[in-house]
């Protein structure tokens, strides 16, 4: 809400308080300052003039020539606006003056007539948007008066945020109440002195529903639609409200001033009792904006007899609207239920200054005061006649007495408050309360909806004590530096991938259907019911699609072939393993790398890798794994593997199917994998089986076996390890040569005894034992020749 210093000053004397102090006060009371500005006139050298004569321009039809008295002199000024007559008092920009945005005004020849300046509109002086033409001033202002002296030329404006629990602060009165405690200054409640002179011809009441607790109204006769006063237009335009006419402006003004939304009906368009009821389903009403609104039983309507004439608290109806010819008014001042107004306003997308106040809750006891202030303001500028106020109240809303134990304050806030502070705060905030020994007994005032529990009053005390006046203390939990298994596994795996030149990414969780089906055609997907982007309404079932997207994006964008990983949640519609009331969700680490990778050294060509590299990576990430081939959608028929640890699947990896590689137009083979982070345990990942080092020399043989093409090489390695299980060994395949239907495997064995140095004879025996066992077990043959 925008707060103008001069306006606020009506309620609380802050003229002597610096703007900085007021800002600090507002902020410490919980009004976030979104913007603040020093208002200065956006014009200079403007005087008041009186139009003495008007005559046609000899050479132009669209403008007129005036003779205008500016005090010291009378000038001939050409003017293009037609909304004034002889005798009008207007602002004049004399030669050598400035209007909005530094625009200079000087003598100017307009089609043969010399114009000595310009007669200005409100928008030309940056006062408010006005399409009516020239700004007409009060008749009694003397020509020659400096315009800035009749217009509040300097002021200060705050735009503050009001939290949703404090609807009562959406008015100048409300803000003044808060500041009155901060600055310890009294607020000036504006008095009303009324003198009704007509009798009501309409009956009004609050209907039979609980959603309208109070319905107040007053009838006005002898009214004329005109401009509102200069002060009102100045204030409203500065708080961002459109200037319309006196009746609309004053209802808006009262809304901002005291927080009571008002509505004006043309009384002559009403014929029966005015009341409130719930709309019937499918009933319609045409609102002020000429829209036909279809209603339901949740909406509240104002009725004339049974006929709906306005959407209660949200928008007036077109049929009973005040127009230029209106002479008699019915002003409504009501209290409507918060939730009901909120529902209607949101459903119809109609959010008005009135509806946001109703939905946060207005003072349930201010309907009469709102009408009084309206009349006081209107009768100031017009000689109207008005009736007695009619207020129909059900008195259903009441704030209950609440007891706060004083020691609860210390318990929650950690500070002891003096009784004098408590009393002063209650008094200044107009909270009806008293201290009875150890208890504070209080009742919230009619404008407060946030003070119905003991803790609510503690908050109020804390705020007015000043959050920044509290001492600080640092409590600590029992388990220091214990982030837990999940977080530590995540950090452990990330570190390994980063040291292998993988870049971590964070991609959005929404995908299109295709991105799920390509890798998980079998899954039941989770969809977003009200998705932002209807084509991306799926929650992802895997991370691989997003990884591929990023890989391709950076290849196209930056010409870099890189490796990536992401650790995030994937979803499917079966029930979650941990929480049985939500869809299944698992944190997965996904990675992607490519057969060719851009090297860091620009002088060198790409580095190439293959599935064996990915396999070694898996071994780095997770120790003691077993791999098993698996057919997986989106993956290569032969290069796709499940990763087992302790007989449980903890992930999978493989090569992107060549068909998809072709469809994505990828030049290089791509390798992808996923690891199920929640299935891993950090202590197991860090488990190391230490091999003691033998103190004896090694013996080494390179063996070559002729094996079938389909043979799995690790079988030989495992068998040799078994045969030499008492030794310290390094056993490696160093060659795999295939030619048509023949295949040779080269195996290097380096072994050391823990007990002795092998002599030639023992070495030969070991070699014989290995070759004989392997030949016998796998039906393979040791190639003669280069074995040693």
């Amino acid at each position: 809400m925008k707060v103008l210093k001069s306006w606020l000053n009506d309620w609380i004397d802050i003229s002597e308080i610096s703007n900085e102090d007021i800002s600090e006060g507002l902020e410490s009371l919980g009004f976030e300052i979104e913007e603040q500005s020093d208002l200065k006139p956006n014009y200079s050298n403007i005087v008041v003039g009186k139009v003495l004569e008007i005559y046609p321009h000899p050479n132009a039809d669209k403008v007129r020539v005036t003779k205008t008295d500016v005090g010291s002199k009378t000038y001939e000024i050409v003017c293009g606006a037609w909304n004034f007559d002889v005798g009008a008092v207007v602002p004049v920009a004399l030669p050598n003056s400035e209007i909005k945005d530094g625009f200079k005004i000087d003598k100017r020849d307009i089609r043969g007539v010399e114009s000595n300046g310009m007669i200005c509109s409100a928008s030309e002086l940056d006062l408010w948007d006005d399409h009516e033409g020239i700004l007409i001033l009060d008749d009694n202002i003397l020509p020659g008066t400096d315009f800035s002296s009749i217009y509040a030329s300097s002021d200060y404006l705050w735009d503050i945020g009001i939290t949703p629990n404090r609807g009562d602060c959406m008015s100048y009165l409300g803000i003044a109440r808060e500041l009155s405690n901060y600055f310890d200054k009294k607020i000036n409640i504006k008095k009303s002195k009324l003198n009704p002179s007509i009798t009501n011809i309409l009956n009004t009441n609050s209907g039979k529903i609980k959603e309208c607790d109070s319905y107040g109204s007053v009838e006005i006769e002898n009214f004329k639609v005109t401009d509102s006063s200069f002060l009102i237009r100045y204030r409203l335009s500065n708080v961002g409200t459109r200037i319309i006419n006196n009746v609309v402006d004053i209802t808006n003004y009262i809304l901002y001033d005291v927080g009571q939304p008002l509505h004006a009906f043309d009384r002559d368009k009403l014929f029966n009792t005015v009341s409130v009821r719930k709309a019937k389903n499918n009933e319609t009403v045409t609102t002020l904006d000429s829209q036909i609104r279809k209603l339901t039983n949740d909406d509240l309507v104002i009725t004339d007899g049974d006929k709906p004439i306005a959407l209660a608290g949200v928008m007036g109806g077109l049929e009973t609207e005040v127009t230029d010819s209106t002479v008699n008014l019915l002003i409504e001042s009501a209290y409507f239920d918060k939730v009901s107004i909120m529902k209607t306003s949101r459903k119809l997308g109609l959010i008005s200054d009135a509806s946001i106040r109703f939905e946060r809750g207005i003072d349930f006891n201010i309907q009469k005061y709102g009408l009084e202030q309206f009349l006081m303001t209107l009768k100031n500028s017009q000689d109207i006649k008005y009736s007695e106020l009619s207020i129909d109240t059900k008195n259903n809303i009441k704030n209950e007495k609440v007891n706060l134990k004083k020691d609860e304050i210390k318990k929650l806030l950690g500070i002891e408050l003096k009784d004098s502070f408590i009393k002063k705060t209650l008094k200044n905030l107009m909270i009806d309360g008293e201290i009875k020994k150890d208890i504070i007994e209080f009742t919230a005032p009619s404008w407060r909806y946030d003070l119905d529990r003991p803790v609510d009053l503690i908050e109020e005390f804390a705020k007015h004590y000043g959050f920044n006046n509290f001492s600080s203390n640092l409590p600590q939990g029992l388990y220091k530096n214990e982030k837990g298994n999940f977080w530590k596994v995540k950090e452990y795996l990330s570190k390994i991938l980063i040291s292998n030149n993988f870049q971590e990414i964070q991609t959005l969780s929404f995908v299109n259907k295709e991105m799920n089906t390509v890798f998980n055609p079998e899954k039941k997907y989770v969809t977003v019911f009200n998705a932002i982007d209807k084509s991306n309404n799926y929650l992802r079932s895997n991370l691989m699609s997003s990884l591929l997207d990023t890989y391709i994006f950076n290849l196209q964008q930056n010409n870099i072939l890189n490796s990536y990983f992401e650790i995030n949640t994937v979803f499917n519609s079966s029930v979650d393993n941990t929480f049985n009331d939500v869809p299944n969700q698992n944190v997965v680490l996904g990675f992607i790398t490519s057969a060719n990778l851009t090297t860091q050294d620009i002088r060198k060509s790409d580095q190439s890798i293959d599935i064996y590299y990915v396999k070694s990576l898996i071994n780095q990430l997770i120790n003691n794994t077993q791999l098993e081939p698996i057919i997986k959608p989106g993956f290569h028929q032969n290069y796709s593997f499940s990763i087992f640890k302790n007989n449980e699947i903890v992930g999978h990896f493989g090569q992107l199917s060549t068909e998809l590689q072709n469809n994505f137009e990828l030049e290089n083979e791509v390798f992808l994998g996923e690891i199920y982070v929640n299935k891993l345990n950090l202590n197991e990942l860090k488990l190391i089986n230490y091999q003691p080092l033998s103190q004896y020399p090694f013996i080494k043989f390179d063996l070559s076996f002729s094996v079938p093409v389909e043979f799995s090489a690790h079988l030989i390695v495992d068998e040799i390890k078994k045969l030499l299980s008492k030794n310290e060994n390094e056993i490696e395949i160093f060659d795999d040569f295939q030619h048509e239907n023949s295949r040779n495997l080269g195996i290097r064995i380096v072994t050391r005894s823990y007990e002795k140095t092998y002599d030639d004879n023992e070495t030969r025996q070991i070699l014989m034992k290995i070759s004989d066992s392997l030949e016998a077990k796998f039906k393979i043959t040791l190639n003669s020749g280069n074995n040693d």
């Binding site: 949101r346 977080w487 030149n501 950076n554 939500v582 851009t598 860091q600």
Partner: protein, 330 residues
């Protein structure tokens, strides 16, 4: 007695040493002047046939010459060697201003590193990491957190729902983890819950449908507003530096009371909001089945916001586009 002219030999040696062009030539010279077949060795052979006096005298002369040559040779060799390597290095002069090694990007995502940092800051004072589902029930996201069903935050324009009855949704705040954690654990509780949250916003410079928060919760005997203040001041100073000032201003959240926003003083004297916090509302304790006299505080930090403030990142969109030009800067 035939004696060699030692001065002449030494002069000839000096002449040869002066002409050396390669380090190996020092070995040749050593052989020539001091080796088996050198003049000095030849002369030494003659000593045995000399009288004792002559032998001693001539022997001494030869020994001195040999020492002189050998010392000088080593000296020259060392200086030649050092000159040689100096010259070698002078000739090897690469233009180091060229960056042949390009930074391709191999690091944590900036959001992850900010989250890790925050987790580390809190784990140092005894907070453990808690997690909860991202696809949540409306009850955990709203009702349990004291946000009734008519509350505007629950409108479909703000929240992404998974079903037409609006019973399941994508959590809009990590505060849901507070609820889940308290339902399953007794006090004392000291947790942080980093994770993804979702809102119904298009991805643009200032909005994202996905973003990250870190929720903190402490429930323990006698925790007060002063404890909340001290905890968050500690966090701000650990994260932004000891010289950063903080202030607390009142705010409103349905699930805390009193509630506050924390602002930090930034470079140009500007105050920036960095987190929301408050004392846990008694209704929340009631919803999770805790004793109604329980006491504690909660806070929530926006991870993107922390990163944007610290690194002056201008577009939230950058976090999720994963352009290497962005990722490799952190």
């Amino acid at each position: 007695m035939p004696e060699v002219n030692t001065e002449k030999i030494f002069a000839s040696f000096l002449l040869s040493v002066g002409q050396v062009t390669k380090i190996d030539e020092f070995n040749d010279l050593e052989k020539e002047y001091l080796g088996k077949n050198s003049l000095i060795s030849e002369e030494r052979k003659k000593l045995s046939s000399m009288s004792e006096i002559s032998r001693k005298k001539y022997g001494k002369v030869l020994q001195e010459l040999s020492t002189q040559i050998s010392e000088r040779l080593n000296q020259e060799r060392l200086s030649f060697q050092s000159k040689f390597f100096k010259e070698k290095e002078l000739n090897d002069n690469k233009d180091i201003t060229i960056n042949w090694y390009k930074d391709l990007g191999s690091r944590e995502h900036v959001l992850t590193s900010v989250m890790n940092e925050v987790v580390d800051i809190f784990s140092a004072i005894g907070y453990t990491v808690a997690t909860g589902p991202e696809a949540e029930t409306s009850w955990h996201n709203f009702d349990a957190l004291n946000t009734p069903d008519w509350h505007p935050a629950r409108y479909e324009s703000d929240t992404l729902y998974l079903d037409e009855n609006l019973e399941q949704l994508l959590r809009t705040q990590t505060s849901t983890v507070q609820v889940r954690h308290m339902q399953n654990n007794k006090p004392p509780v000291y947790i942080v819950a980093p994770g993804r949250v979702y809102r119904s916003d298009q991805l643009d410079a200032t909005h994202s449908p996905v973003f990250h928060q870190i929720e903190g919760l402490a429930v323990d005997e006698n925790l007060t507003f002063s404890d909340l203040k001290g905890t968050l001041e500690y966090f701000v100073q650990e994260f932004f530096g000891k010289e950063i000032k903080t202030k607390f201003i009142p705010h409103f959240f349905p699930f805390t009371e009193p509630s506050a926003e924390v602002l930090v003083s930034w470079k140009d004297g500007e105050w920036l909001e960095i987190l929301g916090c408050g004392m846990v509302d008694p209704n929340v304790f009631q919803h999770v089945g805790y004793d109604k006299n329980s006491q504690g505080f909660a806070f929530g930090v926006g991870v993107e916001r922390l990163a944007m403030i610290r690194y002056k990142i201008d577009h939230i969109k950058n976090f999720y586009e994963n352009d290497l030009r962005f990722l490799r800067q952190f």
